[in-house]
Amino acid sequence: MTIPDASIRPSILVVEDEILIRLELVDLVEEAGFLVYEAGNADEALRQLRDHHDIHVLITDIDMPGSMDGLTLSHHVRDCWPPVRIIVASSHVKVTARELPDHGVFIDKPYDTPRVRSLLSQIAGEIQRA
């Protein structure tokens, strides 16, 4: 994937407590052209969002320790950072569209890598066009 311009490089916050899975996900989103921020739980994620105002996308696992799970985090982010695009992932919880925040996307784990890649590049394209 080519990165047209560093100034409008899309950025993503990857929230995943399982480090190995996070490492792989980070590699995946980097390959899709994103600048990556990482967090291991919701509290770290909120800190990253407050520190980095350029985050365009949140991709979060649901089942996480800490003060809130990924689904609660996604709703919180929708309320406090409305422009952030949201992707919610889980290995065991099936989330319906009603439970997701507006315009949220749910993906299953283990990841369908080609699907995640195309979803990410679609989002990256939209951000760069905006």
Binding site: I19, L20, E24, D27, N41, P65, P110
Partner: protein, 496 residues
């Protein structure tokens, strides 16, 4: 009069007189009367009683009137008069038609006829009385029998109700509690039944269960038995689960008169079901999580390998390392593992028993995630050592030791892997999966620091991490300790 219970089957006292001769055929009765007259006449013929010509006949008239009835009595009277007159004529020469004889005979007939009538009336009265008494004693006996049966049935019912472990209640048609059996009171923590007697039964249930109880009551009133499961608080406020059957109690006319509610305490069963659901959920979660981890390891291996052949071997070895690490966790229901065990388990394929490894440190338990991560990292360290480091030559050794230390009031662990005796080493590619696992991944899992150096005398890896202590005895060095990592449930283990 006191009657025995078997009065109906045995005639009593005076009533046992055989008054049933009247039921004999007429010929028999008349024949008996005739026989008596003959006997009395024969005696009169022999004895010739002048002063009392009818004396021998009179007593018999009582008996005949009493036992044989009016007809034979009158017949015997007439026959006796004729026989007596005939004997008087034959033996004394007295005329039949002498006025004195006629008067005497008429008087005899009248008196004996009267006697027969009186005796017959007496007999009739006695028979009637006996029949009354017999029927009374029969009805008394059946009354007593049914009373006894009722008592027995009540005792049976009571013992059945009290033997049942279920909470059995009888409600009136307004669903008010009228009765509750002993075990039911115990299960519902009822000390004083008077306090709940008359309370509407559906009020014991709340929310959707109140609705279910109301529906069950309406159905029972309509004659339909229904069943539901619900949660309800005991009088003492303990929440219990119940399997409830509500049924109509019908009267002899078939109409619903009362309602029966039988509740079985299924709290333990519900808890077991919930536990089972939780376990299944946990297991499904772990399986999916393991798959996601395997996916990450596979992708990372492929991404960071030079060739497909290299990737295949490395992936297989990592999968085996992950499997072995999971074996260790299964023993503790996926909660934690002890560090010595983790090292022995992870390094078993690398010759832990060959005397080339030295292990020294206190007992420390690691969370499941830290255990997995460390196992994978140890696999990478040992693989590197076998390829390029101390384990690539016979003289090489690996020393592992760890200690606990105090850092600004918090306990930390310092773990060191030190190789020596091997060839001079060079740092491997920092982008390989091994390096990623050892440096980046461990730091994340342990929330600590990881550092690997490659001085010429052998690789040296140091991991430091905060640990939580479950015991305050710091000096013993044998405290049960849980290393960093979330979702750690303290596991009580015996420390040898």
């Amino acid at each position: 009069m006191t009657l025995q219970s078997d009065a109906g089957s045995r005639p009593l006292g005076v009533w046992s007189l055989k008054l049933d001769l009247l039921q004999s055929p007429a010929a028999v009765r008349y024949g008996l009367a005739f026989l008596y007259v003959c006997l009395a006449s024969w005696l009169r013929w022999i004895l010739v009683l002048d002063n009392a010509p009818f004396l021998l006949y009179m007593p018999g008239m009582f008996v005949i009137g009493f036992l044989l009835g009016q007809g034979p009595g009158f017949a015997a009277t007439l026959l006796s008069a004729i026989a007596s007159d005939y004997i008087a004529f034959e033996r004394k020469g007295l005329s039949f038609w002498a006025p004195s004889q006629i008067v005497t005979s008429i008087l005899f007939i009248l008196i004996c006829g009267g006697l027969v009538l009186v005796c017959d009336a007496l007999r009739t009265a006695l028979l009637a009385r006996r029949s009354d008494l017999l029927s009374m004693s029969t009805s008394n006996a059946s009354l007593m029998e049914s009373q006894a049966a009722l008592e027995e049935s009540e005792a049976f019912l009571r013992s059945t109700l009290e033997s049942s472990p279920d909470c059995i209640k009888v409600l009136d048609l307004d669903a008010k509690v009228m009765f509750m059996n002993g075990p039911g009171r115990k299960a519902m923590d009822v000390v004083d039944f008077g306090k709940i007697e008359g309370c509407p039964w559906p009020d014991f249930w709340h929310d959707e269960y109140n609705e279910a109880a109301g529906v069950a009551i309406s159905q029972a009133r309509a004659g339909i038995t229904s069943r539901f499961q619900g949660q309800c608080l005991t009088v003492a406020g303990v929440a219990k689960w119940w399997d409830v059957v509500v049924a109509p109690i019908r009267g002899s006319d078939g109409q619903t008169q009362k309602l029966l509610s039988i509740s079985r305490d299924i709290t333990e069963q519900k808890h077991a079901e919930a536990q089972q659901r939780l376990l299944n959920h946990e297991l499904a979660h772990r399986m999916k999580n393991t798959l996601a981890m395997v996916q990450a390891i596979a992708n990372q291996t492929l991404r960071r390998s030079g060739s497909i052949a290299e990737a295949r071997n490395a992936f297989e070895a990592r999968l085996i390392a992950l499997g072995k690490a999971q074996d260790l966790l299964i023993a503790t229901h996926w909660e934690s593992a002890e560090l010595h065990d983790i090292l022995r388990n992870a390094l078993a394929p690398h010759g832990i028993d060959t005397g080339r490894f030295s292990i020294e440190g206190p007992d420390i338990r690691l969370s499941s995630r830290c255990s997995l991560a460390l196992s994978l990292a140890l696999h990478e360290l040992a693989t590197n050592a076998a390829k390029y480091g101390a384990l690539s030559v016979q003289t090489g050794r690996v020393l592992m030791n760890w200690t606990l230390y105090d850092d600004a009031g918090l306990t930390r662990m310092r773990f060191e892997w030190k190789e020596h005796g091997g060839p001079a080493v060079q740092a491997p590619s920092s982008t390989g999966f091994g390096s990623v696992m050892i440096e980046r991944s461990l730091v994340g899992y342990f929330k600590g620091t990881a550092d690997i150096q490659y001085p010429p005398d052998g690789a040296r890896f140091v991991l430091t991490a905060p640990v939580t202590r479950s015991q305050t005895d710091f000096s013993s060095g044998e405290a049960e300790v849980l290393a960093a990592g979330e979702r750690v449930l303290p596991t009580k283990v015996d420390i040898a």
